[in-house]
Structures are given as structure tokens and as C-alpha cells.
């Protein structure tokens, strides 16, 4: 059995849940494939921490698929268990850093959302260089983009930043899923044209 774990973190309203849903739907191709992963939804309110997990499971054979010690999967990812961490908010990347191990890939958005505590002058927002430096102490595979700017520049809207990040996931990691599967899912969904375009932008970053 092989696992490929993706943790996606960010803030309410950034489209984190959608990213998880798109990725999970890519796991229907084979009977020897499974997927699990829960979402932490921060209610409807904004600016709160949100995370979602996508855990792909690939069974060796049918006997493993039927083995009760192998075919039951936690909805969570353990510390250090993520192959990839995608973060749409720089500070939250550090909060999600406990999913990382030395081989993990990190894809992060460089556009900060300042928490209330910073607004009130009680703490300060860490410099981007501090954030990347801390991440580099864990893994060398770090990809940093201004997804907000790229989305605004191409779509006049922030709503495509999550799908652009998905494109980067397929360009920069060894995710064992065919990108055409994602393209098919996106083209069957809402806003297909923009989403496909956003995905392709991400693929070329």
C-alpha cells in the first residue's frame, strides 16, 4: 500500500475546501485506489484557519484492499505525514508546518492576511523571509508565488487563486494522479472555462 498525503491550509473563503473536493474526485479511476481526508471548516465566518486533507491510497492488490488492518483510513494526516503542503496564506504555512517532513514539498501563497492580534499591535506579522527560512530548515522543496496577484491579473478576481495553486501542485510535485483527470473534473464543474485556464496557468508557473 502506498499513500500520498496532501494538506491544504489557509483561511475561510479562500477556496480551500473546493481544492480538496477537486483532488478527491480524482481518486475514482481504479478499484485499488481510495481517498480519505476531512475538512476543518471555520463556519461561514472569514479570516479563520481552515484546513483540508487529501489522502490518496493505492493498494498493492485485492487482498490488501480486503485486509481490515489496511483498508481503514483516518481522516487526518499525522505530524510529518504530508507529501505536499499547499498554503494560501504565508503565516498559516507555519501553522501547518507540523505536517511536513524532510521530503515534503511546500507550495505557498505570499499574500498575507494580517490577524487581528497584529492589527491591534499586540504582535507583529513575521517577515516572509522568516517564514521561508523556517520552512527551509525542514525541506528544500519550497515554491512561493503571489497567487492573489496572478489571479487578479488574469481574471480580475481572487476566486481563481486556489485552482492556480492546484496547477502548481501538478507541475512541481510527483503527485501520482494524471493531470488530465483534474482537467476532466474541472471541465465538468461550474466556471469550467476560467478554472481550466487557471489550472493551466498554474501548470506553467
Amino acid at each position: 500500500m502506498k499513500r500520498f498525503n496532501i494538506a491544504i491550509v489557509g483561511l475561510g473563503g479562500q477556496g480551500i475546501i473546493t481544492m480538496g473536493t477537486v483532488l478527491k474526485n480524482a481518486a475514482l479511476d481504479s478499484d485499488l485506489q481510495d481517498v480519505s481526508g476531512s475538512e476543518r471548516r471555520g463556519g461561514a465566518q472569514r479570516e479563520g484557519y481552515v484546513e483540508t486533507f487529501v489522502k490518496y491510497i493505492f493498494y498493492e492488490d485485492n487482498s490488501e484492499l480486503k485486509d481490515p488492518k489496511k483498508n481503514m483510513h483516518s481522516p487526518m494526516i499525522e505530524s510529518g505525514g504530508a507529501d505536499v503542503l499547499i498554503s494560501l496564506e504565508p503565516l498559516e504555512t507555519l501553522r501547518g508546518a507540523y505536517y511536513l517532513n524532510r521530503n515534503s514539498t511546500v507550495i505557498l501563497n505570499e499574500m498575507p492576511h494580517i490577524p487581528i492580534s497584529v492589527r491591534m499591535g499586540q504582535t507583529s506579522y513575521p517577515e516572509l523571509s522568516y517564514i521561508t527560512c523556517e520552512l527551509e530548515k525542514i525541506t528544500g522543496k519550497i515554491f512561493l508565488y503571489d497567487f492573489d496577484k496572478i489571479s487578479l491579473g488574469n481574471f480580475n478576481s481572487l476566486t481563481q487563486r486556489n485552482i492556480i495553486a492546484l496547477g502548481v501542485l501538478f507541475a512541481k510535485t510527483n503527485i501520482p494522479i494524471d493531470k488530465t483527470v483534474i482537467e476532466n473534473i474541472l471541465s465538468a464543474g461550474k466556471g469550467a472555462k476560467d478554472n481550466l485556464e487557471a489550472f493551466h496557468i498554474g501548470l506553467t508557473l
Binding site: 473536493t21 478527491k24 474526485n25 481518486a27 475514482l28 481517498v35 480519505s36 481526508g37 476531512s38 475538512e39 476543518r40 471548516r41 471555520g42 463556519g43 461561514a44 465566518q45 472569514r46 479570516e47 479563520g48 484557519y49 481490515p68 488492518k69 489496511k70 481503514m72 483510513h73 483516518s74 481522516p75 487526518m76 494526516i77 499525522e78 505530524s79 510529518g80 505525514g81 503565516l91 501553522r95 508546518a97 507540523y98 505536517y99 511536513l100 517532513n101 524532510r102 498575507p112 492576511h113 494580517i114 490577524p115 487581528i116 492580534s117 492589527r119 491591534m120 504582535t123 506579522y125 513575521p126 523556517e134 530548515k137 487578479l152 480580475n156 478576481s157 481572487l158 465538468a188 464543474g189
Partner: protein
């Protein structure tokens, strides 16, 4: 869900990616339910929402977002007695409200199957407590079924309807947030024929009447049924032992678990590479199968029970172990914490320690690293959406009572909190609530405080959905007993916090259709005997604040209705009905901007109002930091414009069409870059 609408059309052989809540709903659909109701509550809301949004395409299905859980469960009972299989869902604390119908359900029994799906919320990310509703079964005698994953969520729900009918119990299905909001692979089954779902209330006084000795008789009847069910569960598909790996010698330590925690356990043991223990999986956790557990004990010195919260299984198993003479060690809550969510990490650490097996190096490294980091990170808490009317209401109230938002303890008013999006006002920077517990505690506790502490004015807050839930009797009580209190109803037309279900206040649905029977809240309140009622738009913050001030001077019960729709819903409707989309800058017709030359950084908009669309910005070619309204996220509510004491915020209006024709503006707008 992908590929057409599998939720309603899926059949044996189909598979799809489904949310835990949808899987429960689908299981109920496969079982042929004709009734589904709930009062919304995270994490359970999507159970009924999934059915409700598809109801027009499902034959003979009635769905209802009831006004509260008490009514909702009674509705399910009425449907069941009419021969209709019924599903009722609620969040964990909902059962406190529905506990009265639940207490009677075992006495009377059901007719058609009834399943009560409970969404619990360990760690309370969306709740005001962590209550484990499984304990209710010790006195309601409602059996409990606990699925571990998406597939079981559907299969168990479906089967629970048969068991409900066979043993005449309402069955409680426990789903913690980690199951409700897990999404994974589901293999569908076939749907029952729905054409013959028809109600017929067959009178059954033997069971339905509970008075004096009839109640006693029904009591002993359900104890008998309970024992029959217990026997049935001894060798049902729901409870089974997973044997140890045959290649290695079996250990004298065995594990017992259920639900999502069982999934954690299986994965934790796999991560720790431990396979030589037998594991008992309990699908039903009330009643528990005594004989099966007794057999499981055989050959064991130690039993470890892995579960969340206070140890409901441990409590039962220790009792039966005593009765059956097992004298080995039984562990549980001495290893696994009761408060907070029990995570996969917790299970790895607890199990590893107990079995003296080291966790893999990558795990220890990550745990250590994150502990180092955690201390240095600024906390982040959620807040109101950009443009939320609750922000304006809370801000106005704080201004009216004369204190800045940072010194709540010194305020000489008491602000009674309640449950909903407006609860976020208790977080910084507002710190606008002095207590918060359950629904309608605000006015309930507040009216007594107003009676005994005459020095402080009391303001109680409530949302429209919370008010209709159980606030009407609380308000009537305040009026009848001459309380001295200001009651602010934050009427945003929706049950916003739990995913925007309608309330009796909803006038226009999200697709623009008008409700046929919205309540006139003002008239309703007047009819309760309140004479001081004002309804106004909270976004006019100055007017609202002065209204709060004058109301506080009046004696008796005063009601202010802060009337403005949830901005999220307004924006969604505008998008749906193809009117302006506030999200796209290119279609904006006005912008708010802070003029650098006038802004003195007094922090009125930035800290006191704290709209997240106002952000600090630093330009390389300028000195220092300045405040800036991010046009991509501002929804142009205009509240900051009103609060600025220095007239530094201005509204820029332009003619969209001509601006777009110029094209230049589009470029300029997309160049907008936010920096910090």
C-alpha cells in the same frame, strides 16, 4: 459530488466521492425515508441540506428545517407513527433541546424506522461545548451506532432503519465532525421503490399512551426490547474482532475502539508497524455485546480502550468486566485525554507509549519542530466577513456604551452573548460579550442579572434564528416579569453561522424568489407586550449607536432590531441573479478609498471597526506604513466611510460602462497590488 447527480440517481455498482454527511443522507434515502428534518447545527447541517436541495427530484420526500430540535424530533416521531421512515439530524447540543422527546421515544417505540443523526464536535471548532451525546443512551435507552468511515456512514444508516423497526427503538447515529466533514469514496447501493411511501397513522394506544401505570408498563417493555437487541448484536455484522497478524505471535494486549477513533487506531498501528494485537471494533456502542467482549478478553492481560471524550465505552466495559470476572488491566482515559479532539497524533503517541514502541523519526521530528514554531506564531481567530452587518451592530453598541473595545472588564454595562455569527463579537478586537453558553442564555441569564445588579445596564444580543428557536418564551418572560433590559435582535434574515438556512425572517431566497410567509418581527414582538421597539439598519452606525444610548435610558424591556441581510447572502444572490458581482473589480461602480493625506492613523477603522478589507500597506518609494482599502475584497458597505472622524475615507463613483470602454482602467485596476 461529481458525475451527474449520483446522490439521487446512484445505484449498485456506482461509486463517487461523497461527504460524510451526504453519505448519511444517502443511506437514509436508500432505506426509503419519506421525512427528513433538522434544526441546523455544525457539523451536521449538510445531512438534511443534501436531501432538501434535491427534494424536487425525489418522489415522496418531505424535508423540513424546523424551528428547533424539540419540534424537529417530534416531527420525526409523528412521521414514524404514520408509517414513514424518518431521519432527524442535529448537532450534539441539539439533543439537550430534544431530550424531552428523546426520553419518551423508547417508552412508545417507533412504527416506521427512525434514525437520529447526531453531529458531535470534539475540540469545539464550531461549538460552545464538547458534549458527548452517547451518554444520553444510558437513560433514554436509545441504541447507538457509530460508523468509522464514509462507506459505513451510508451502510450503517441504511441498516439502522431496519434495526429501528425490528426492535422499536429510535437509533442514534453518532458522527463527529471528522466523519461529517470527511470526504471519500462511496460505493452506492440501490434505492427502495419510493412510489408506495404513504402515511397511515394506525392507532396504538398500548404503546403511545404514557400515563401512570401505562408508563410503567412501557418502561418494562423497552427494557425487554433492549435485552433482545443486546442479544442480536452479539453476532451482528456491526461488532467484530480483527485478529492479530498470524505470522507473529499474538500479544496479550488487545484494543477496543469504535467510530472515527477506530480509523485513527488502525492507521496509528500501521504507522507504528504494530500488527500483533487483536482489535475489537464496535459498530454499536450501546448496548454493548457482553459475550463478544468476554470472548475477546480471553487470553488477554490488558485491554486498551481507545475513544474520545470521557470514556463512555470504558465505563460500560469496566462494569461488564467486573460482572464477568475479567481481572486483567483495563486502560483508556489514563492514556487518552478526555478534553479536546483526540487526533491521529494523540492515538499514535498514546499507543506507542503504552506498547513501548518508538514512533518513526519523521513523526518525532515534526512534532518537535511544530512545538518550537507554535510559540512564535501570532494567534489568529476568525472574525466577521468583510461587510458583515454584525460588525456594524457590535461596533455601534460598543461606541454607545462609551468604551473602547479593548477594556471589556471595566465596562459598566453587561453584554449578554448568544449563539450565531454575531458570537464572533466576543473575540478581539471587540471583546463585546460578558458571557456565552447555550442558545438564548443571553436574555435568560441577562434578565436575572438586570434584576440583581441595578448599577449595570444589561444588553442581551440574539440572532433571528436563535430568537425563533427559543427566544420568544424568554422575551415573554422578561415582559411578564418586568425585567429591565435592552434586547438587540441582529436580524440578518438567515441562520448564517450554520450555512445559511432560512429563518421565518427570510424574505427573499438566494435565487431571488420571495418567501410566501415571512414573519413581521416587529408585529410579533409587539404582540408579546413590548412597547419599545425600533427597527433600524446597523450600517448607519451613528444612528444605531445613538438609538442604543436612548434605549438604555428607558425602563423595562426595550427591543432594537438590527435589520440588514447577511452580506454573504446578498453578494451570492447578486451573483446568481447576474446582477453586479461584488467580487470582480471590473464590474464595480464605486470604490472606497483612504486618502493618505488626510489619514492620521487614528485606528478607528483599522482596529476599532477592524474591517479586514482595510489593510496596512508599505510602498517602497514612500516612507512608513499607511492604511489602504483593498478593492478586491471590499464589498462597499460604506461603514468605514461613516466611522472615520477625519473624513479621510471617500467614495469614488464612476460610470462603469464608460470606464470599461476606456480600457485603461481595467489595466489600472488589475495592477492593484497589496503589500505589507
Amino acid at each position: 459530488m461529481s458525475k451527474g447527480n449520483l446522490f439521487i440517481n446512484g445505484k449498485q455498482g456506482d461509486k463517487g466521492i461523497v461527504l460524510g454527511n451526504e453519505a448519511i443522507a444517502r443511506g437514509a434515502l436508500e432505506a426509503g425515508i419519506g421525512y427528513a428534518s433538522m434544526y441546523p447545527g455544525t457539523p451536521a447541517s449538510e445531512i438534511i441540506a443534501a436531501l432538501d436541495k434535491n427534494k424536487n427530484n425525489i418522489e415522496n420526500l418531505y424535508t423540513e428545517f424546523s424551528l428547533n430540535e424539540h419540534i424537529s424530533l417530534h416531527g420525526a416521531i409523528g412521521a414514524s407513527w404514520s408509517g414513514i421512515r424518518s431521519l432527524c439530524a442535529m448537532k450534539n447540543v441539539g439533543l439537550n433541546v430534544a431530550s424531552e422527546p428523546a426520553q419518551f421515544l423508547s417508552y412508545t417505540g417507533v412504527k416506521a424506522g427512525l434514525v437520529l443523526a447526531i453531529g458531535s464536535d470534539p475540540g469545539a471548532p464550531s461549538s460552545s461545548n464538547e458534549q458527548d451525546d452517547r451518554w444520553y443512551s444510558l437513560h433514554t435507552y436509545m441504541p447507538i451506532i457509530e460508523p468509522s468511515n464514509i462507506q459505513e456512514a451510508k451502510d450503517f444508516t441504511k441498516e439502522a432503519f431496519n434495526i429501528s423497526e425490528d426492535f422499536s427503538f429510535g437509533i442514534m447515529l453518532m458522527a463527529p465532525s471528522r466523519l461529517c466533514h470527511n470526504a471519500g469514496t462511496l460505493h452506492f447501493g440501490d434505492l427502495r421503490d419510493r412510489s408506495n411511501i404513504k402515511g397511515n397513522f394506525k392507532k396504538d394506544p398500548e404503546n403511545y399512551l404514557n400515563l401512570f401505570n401505562m408508563a410503567v408498563k412501557n418502561h418494562s417493555k423497552y427494557l425487554e426490547r433492549h435485552n433482545l437487541l443486546k442479544k442480536y448484536l452479539e453476532d451482528s455484522q456491526f461488532n467484530y474482532t480483527v485478529p492479530p497478524d498470524t505470522k507473529k505471535a499474538g500479544s496479550k494486549i488487545g484494543f477496543i475502539s469504535s467510530g472515527v477513533i477506530y480509523a485513527h487506531l488502525i492507521e496509528a498501528l500501521d504507522i507504528l508497524e504494530i500488527y500483533n494485537h487483536k482489535i475489537l471494533k464496535l459498530g454499536f456502542t450501546f448496548p454493548i455485546p457482553d459475550k463478544l467482549i468476554k470472548n475477546f478478553f480471553e487470553g488477554l492481560d490488558k485491554v486498551v480502550i481507545v475513544e474520545e471524550a470521557e470514556g463512555f465505552l470504558e465505563f460500560q466495559i469496566k462494569k461488564m468486566a467486573y460482572e464477568t470476572g475479567f481481572r486483567g488491566e483495563i486502560h483508556g482515559k489514563d492514556i487518552f485525554k478526555a478534553a479536546g479532539e483526540l487526533t491521529l497524533d494523540d492515538v499514535i503517541i498514546g499507543t506507542g507509549k503504552f506498547l513501548e514502541k518508538a514512533a518513526p523519526a519523521f513523526f518525532d521530528f515534526a512534532v518537535k519542530k511544530s512545538e518550537e514554531l507554535k510559540e512564535k506564531l501570532p494567534q489568529r481567530s476568525g472574525t466577521f466577513c468583510i461587510g458583515c452587518p454584525h460588525r456594524a451592530t457590535i461596533y455601534s453598541i460598543l461606541k454607545a456604551v462609551g468604551f473602547s473595545n479593548t477594556d471589556a472588564k471595566d465596562r459598566d454595562v453587561v453584554i449578554a452573548g448568544d449563539i450565531g455569527c454575531y458570537t464572533l463579537g466576543l473575540l478581539p478586537p471587540y471583546n463585546a460579550m460578558d458571557f456565552l453558553t447555550c442558545m438564548n442564555a443571553g436574555l435568560g441569564i441577562g434578565q436575572a442579572i438586570s434584576r440583581f445588579d441595578k448599577k449595570k445596564k444589561v444588553i442581551a444580543l440574539v440572532g433571528d434564528s436563535t430568537f425563533y428557536h427559543s427566544g420568544i418564551p424568554a422575551l415573554l418572560n422578561a415582559v411578564q416579569n418586568n425585567a429591565d433590559i435592552l434586547y438587540v435582535i441582529l436580524d440578518n434574515s438567515w441562520t448564517a453561522m450554520t450555512g445559511h438556512q432560512k429563518t421565518p425572517s427570510t424574505q427573499k431566497d438566494i435565487d431571488g424568489t420571495l418567501s410566501n410567509n415571512p414573519v413581521n418581527l416587529k408585529d410579533l414582538i409587539k404582540s408579546l407586550g413590548v412597547s419599545y421597539i425600533k427597527s433600524l439598519d446597523p450600517n448607519s452606525v451613528k444612528r444605531f449607536a445613538s438609538q442604543v444610548k436612548s434605549a438604555l435610558k428607558e425602563p423595562g424591556v426595550k427591543v432594537l432590531i438590527a435589520k440588514r441581510e447577511c452580506i454573504l447572502q446578498e453578494v451570492r444572490r447578486n451573483k446568481l441573479t447576474q446582477k453586479v458581482s461584488n467580487v470582480k473589480i471590473e464590474t464595480a461602480e464605486s470604490l472606497y478609498e483612504i486618502q493618505k493625506s488626510r489619514c492620521v492613523k487614528c485606528n478607528e477603522c483599522f482596529v476599532e471597526l477592524a474591517c479586514p478589507a482595510i489593510i496596512p500597506k508599505r510602498d517602497n518609494n514612500e516612507n512608513g506604513e499607511y492604511y489602504y482599502i483593498d478593492p478586491a475584497s471590499c464589498v462597499r458597505c460604506g461603514v468605514c466611510f461613516e466611522v472615520c472622524p477625519n473624513s479621510a475615507i471617500r467614495k469614488v463613483e464612476f460610470d462603469l460602462k464608460s470606464e470599461l470602454n476606456k480600457k485603461v482602467d481595467k489595466v489600472k485596476l488589475t495592477e492593484i497590488k497589496i503589500q505589507i
